[in-house]
Amino acid sequence: MGNALRVLQAAAVLAVLLILSPVANSQSASLPDWSGVWERFEGNGGIFDPSTVEPQDGRAGNPGVRQFPPLTDAWEAKYQANLALAAKDRLPDPISRCGTPAGFPRLLALPDVYEFIVRPEQSWIITENGPNIIRIYTDGRDHPPPEEVWPTFTGDSVGHWDGQTLNFTTVSMIGDESTVLDRSGLTLSDQATVATRMFKTDEGLLRAELVIEDPLALREPWHVTRHFRRLPAGTRVYDYACAENNRNPITESGQTLTLDTEGNVIDIAVDEND
């Protein structure tokens, strides 16, 4: 290939880039600034829906602490069974085994910190705890057809930007098969759908408004709101690496053990048959 042709090709590529880049830049410029590192704003009790928890300062998993979503009778019975197990400390939290993601929508209620990365065609929410990632496609695609989806921890999310607000719906979540919403044992089914609106409030908080529908678990749409606050500039995010030194394995009965540095069980009281 001659030098002249190479120059012409390079000029053509440059011209295309110059034509396209203002479009991309203008799209990016229209997106909100959600940069930096954030943490959940509502309580550290691990409660998924702080607005319906009783008592209000209750921690997920503590005896007598529960939330009141509009559960169907069947799911209320499941919840009560899980509450009873949690009260005996025998409701294992799936993420405590260091092997599976927290899943959506629990992903919006985790400890440690968050990053929200927004681009015109796609956004990502990354949680340090886990870590977990949810990908939200905003390039115009729809959810896949039924024959191309299967239940996953985080499901499938598609949406669009409405000004500075990110709207998305999430489907195909694995539900109570392998996830809980918090350590009280609250769950949804794999038929749940979540419509989420995320936007920054006047106070600088990032607000997520969820409308959860589930023909098996819920009698009516369940509205849950959570917020995040931005941490000081320069805050870093680190590896979580749950399996690095997990000295708290969980037995078949759901008991959380404690190991010494050699891997021996410290606990004096261990459930029979474990």
Binding site: N44, T225, Y240
Partner: protein, 134 residues
């Protein structure tokens, strides 16, 4: 500002003031566990003077291995469990916060079954500096 957020902010400010006057700090750093911590007796805070044997700055929890003298005058090894290193780092902890051989006072929630493990609540070093809830 919504009423819910206002209420939460006010509650947090009140809590901060209460904490300030009570001389204690939030316990959130030790209870953001990746597992249930129901095995610890959180109604009891045991204070001990211990010799640090090893500091495990690891995920998903930090562990402080210490030697504590028992009633018979023998040194017993205890495992003190804390939160995750990432959040603790952002609260001022460092990978070398506890040095082997160092003598440190600890406050901790013992295990309900009496075994030699505990949940970290606070530490005071020989120079008077503290970590956690002291």
């Amino acid at each position: 500002m919504t009423k819910a957020i206002q209420s939460l902010l006010v509650r947090q400010k009140l809590m901060a003031l209460t904490i300030c006057f009570a001389g204690i700090v939030s316990v959130t750093e030790v209870v953001n566990a990746h597992h249930s911590n129901a095995m610890f007796d959180k109604t009891q805070v045991r204070e001990v003077t211990a010799t640090v044997r090893e500091f495990q700055w690891t995920n998903p929890h930090i562990w402080i291995q210490v030697l504590i003298e028992n009633e018979d005058g023998e040194q017993e090894e205890w495992s003190i469990e804390g939160g995750g290193p990432n959040t603790l780092f952002r609260k001022g902890w460092r990978p070398n916060s506890f040095k082997p051989g160092e003598i440190v006072e600890f406050k901790m929630n013992p295990m309900l079954d009496g075994s030699n493990a505990a949940l970290f609540r606070g530490a005071r070093f020989s120079n008077g500096e503290t970590l956690g809830n002291w």
